[in-house]
Amino acid sequence: MKCAKLFLIATGLAILVSLDSLADNVKVIANLSVKADEISSTQLKRVFLEEGVSLADGTHVEPVLEKGGPVHAAFLLYLGISEEDLRTYYRTLVFTGKGSMPRELGSDAEVVAYVARTRGAIGYVSSSANVVGVKELAIGVPGDNVDRKLIVRVEPDYPETLKQLKIGGTVRLRVFISANGNVENAVLLGGNPILGESAAIAVKQWIYAAGRSLTVAEVSISFGEH
């Protein structure tokens, strides 16, 4: 039994590390001149693909990219586009005279510093970054997950060992729902990592109603009598 507990703890830590390495908690930051306190994933996509130059409140915004790395990779989930396709997209704008390449910066610190001093700048950094001098924008409009009706729900497995040990609780996941309703990714935000892994496997099989674009929602799942 003791070995099983140690195994579970070790596995949990490994999963936690791997989830961390996915840079699951990307923060979107903006210059203090930006009036909005939150930005929907749809708006975020329009801003970073240069389709929109201002937010709903009229604030002009200028996107800033982080050059490669896990934070950038995680952020691309919000845009629903691969790195190669994003690069091709920007180059098409630049070389046809129909847009410009957003500024690319090498680290969280550089992004924060640039956003802090540049009117309308909007960027993203890892959740652990120090964001003094800028404002953090909440991603997703409250009720996003209400807008996307859940059509198929698969219940997660409650790992037998944890069940016997009466280890339970609630896990929170950030869920990326594609326009066609499939769950593209589920990232653990809080709770037991082993239960989180089980919940993520189930949630990735959920199907939502089709929407206009990628939607980001938070989902909570409880295990055991809590």
Binding site: T42, R91, V94, T96, G97, S100, R103
Partner: protein, 411 residues
């Protein structure tokens, strides 16, 4: 030729070893971005010479490059310009041109304006057809994007109104562009070169061009469909050998559009590593010739279906089938020189091209492509499509296979 190819390859290696980066600097305290690209190709055909090159012997006369600068003047106004130069067989001949030079004002996301020399929005790739590094294929489907005739549709001196709208009920996004301006072809372009084969020396070729494009990003992720319309009023002026009395010297030559329009419909579907495109274009040109003593009616239709798949980050493969037909009828005095060409089954009136390609990205800035073309027909009617009589003095073979190798860099 080999020396030049060696120099270009060496240059590619050199820039590949350097870390190519977009250059930013400040002018009057504003950030200015500089970007550029260059490509070098080699073409070998087993029969007909293609794209005005002596490709039957293997030709590296397939070079282009460009450089641009742009800056944001303020939150809403952006300005920039790009120089472009190329040498494609007998075309271009390293005479640089202003590719685009625009001032772009963004009033709202749904209402923007750009003016100056603007790349024309027509179908999926008209505005990006020169930008080799954006495409899997070394040559885009020539039924829709004939590289020898790029000047015909590439840009206009005028203005665009454009924007992007979100449709209600989650029906997707709609992008629109409406434009008007003046098209001006280089005297080193394909059609002007073709006219020299019938003894015409063109001094100017261009005119009014206006049209619109509407594209719908549907609610099905990755699916885009759209339609474009282009109207033109073109005038060509120059001199020509009098066909009725060749020994009498040159006489004034003119071509004037009576009806000149293009309709294009297209769709694109991208899912993960797979991308499928298809387009259809019909180009109708009715022109009066030699001060209206003759009239030409050409109906040019093309379509293609292409697929590309990214095997891994650095390797993509692709294939397309490109279908081109032309019919032409000349009335009036010149009818005796141009018998009606209406049978598209004849190789002179079509070009069916099956293509396979592979693209390797050696790094973010440097790519190489190898491509095979298996062509039936040569579509060399009074409006050319890659095959020109001047470089095929012994006539055309009905089939031609081509090997295209191309490398390009960009920053």
């Amino acid at each position: 030729m080999h020396r030049r190819l060696f120099v270009v390859v060496l240059a590619c290696f050199s820039v590949g070893q350097l870390t190519l980066r977009a250059q930013d600097f400040k002018v009057f305290n504003r950030d200015v971005q500089i970007h550029g690209f260059a490509s070098q190709g080699f073409v070998y055909t087993n029969t007909n010479n293609w794209l005005t090159m002596n490709s039957n012997q293997g030709s590296a006369a397939f070079t282009d490059f460009g450089i641009n600068a742009s800056t944001n003047v303020n939150d809403k106004l952006r300005i920039g310009a790009q120089l472009y130069d190329r040498n494609l067989g007998q075309l271009g001949q390293y005479h640089p041109s202003l590719d685009w030079a625009v001032a772009d004002y963004r009033f709202r996301g749904w209402l923007r304006f750009r003016g100056g020399k603007v790349k024309t929005t027509l179908g999926l790739y008209t505005d990006s057809q020169d930008l080799d590094f954006l495409h899997v294929f070394a040559l885009l489907p020539q039924s829709i994007y004939p590289t020898d005739l790029r000047d015909a549709t590439i840009a206009h001196l005028g203005g665009d109104v454009y924007g992007n709208l979100s449709l209600p009920r989650r029906l997707g996004d709609l992008s629109y562009t409406a434009y008007a301006g003046h098209r001006s072809d280089s005297i080193y372009s394909g059609y002007v070169y073709y006219l020299s084969s019938v003894g015409a020396q063109i001094k100017s070729y261009g005119g009014l061009q206006y049209g619109a494009d509407l594209r719908w990003n549907t609610r099905l992720k990755g699916l885009l469909i759209g339609a474009s319309r282009l109207n033109e009023d073109i005038t060509a002026k120059g001199s020509a050998i009098n066909p009725f009395n060749p020994g009498a010297g040159l006489v004034p030559y003119s071509e004037v559009s009576k009806a000149d329009w293009t309709n294009q419909f297209y769709g694109e579907y991208a899912a993960g590593r797979l991308r499928i495109d298809s387009e259809y274009r019909r180009y109708w040109r009715n022109q009066s010739l030699f001060n209206n003593i003759s009239e030409s009616f050409a109906d040019i239709r093309g379509w293609y279906v292409s697929g590309a798949y990214r095997i891994c980050k650095r390797l993509q493969i692709g294939s397309y089938y490109s279908h081109y037909t032309i019919t032409n009828v000349v009335t009036g005095a010149f009818a005796v020189f141009y018998p009606p060409a209406t049978d598209t089954n004849l190789p002179a009136n079509h070009d069916y091209d099956k293509v396979i390609t592979g693209r390797v990205d050696l790094n973010k800035h440097w790519n190489m492509k190898i491509e095979g073309h298996f062509m039936n027909g040569y579509g060399s009617g009074p409006y050319p499509n890659g095959f020109y009589p001047q470089v095929n003095p012994r006539g055309f073979q009905p089939n031609a296979d081509a090997l295209v190798v191309k490398t390009g860099v960009n920053f």
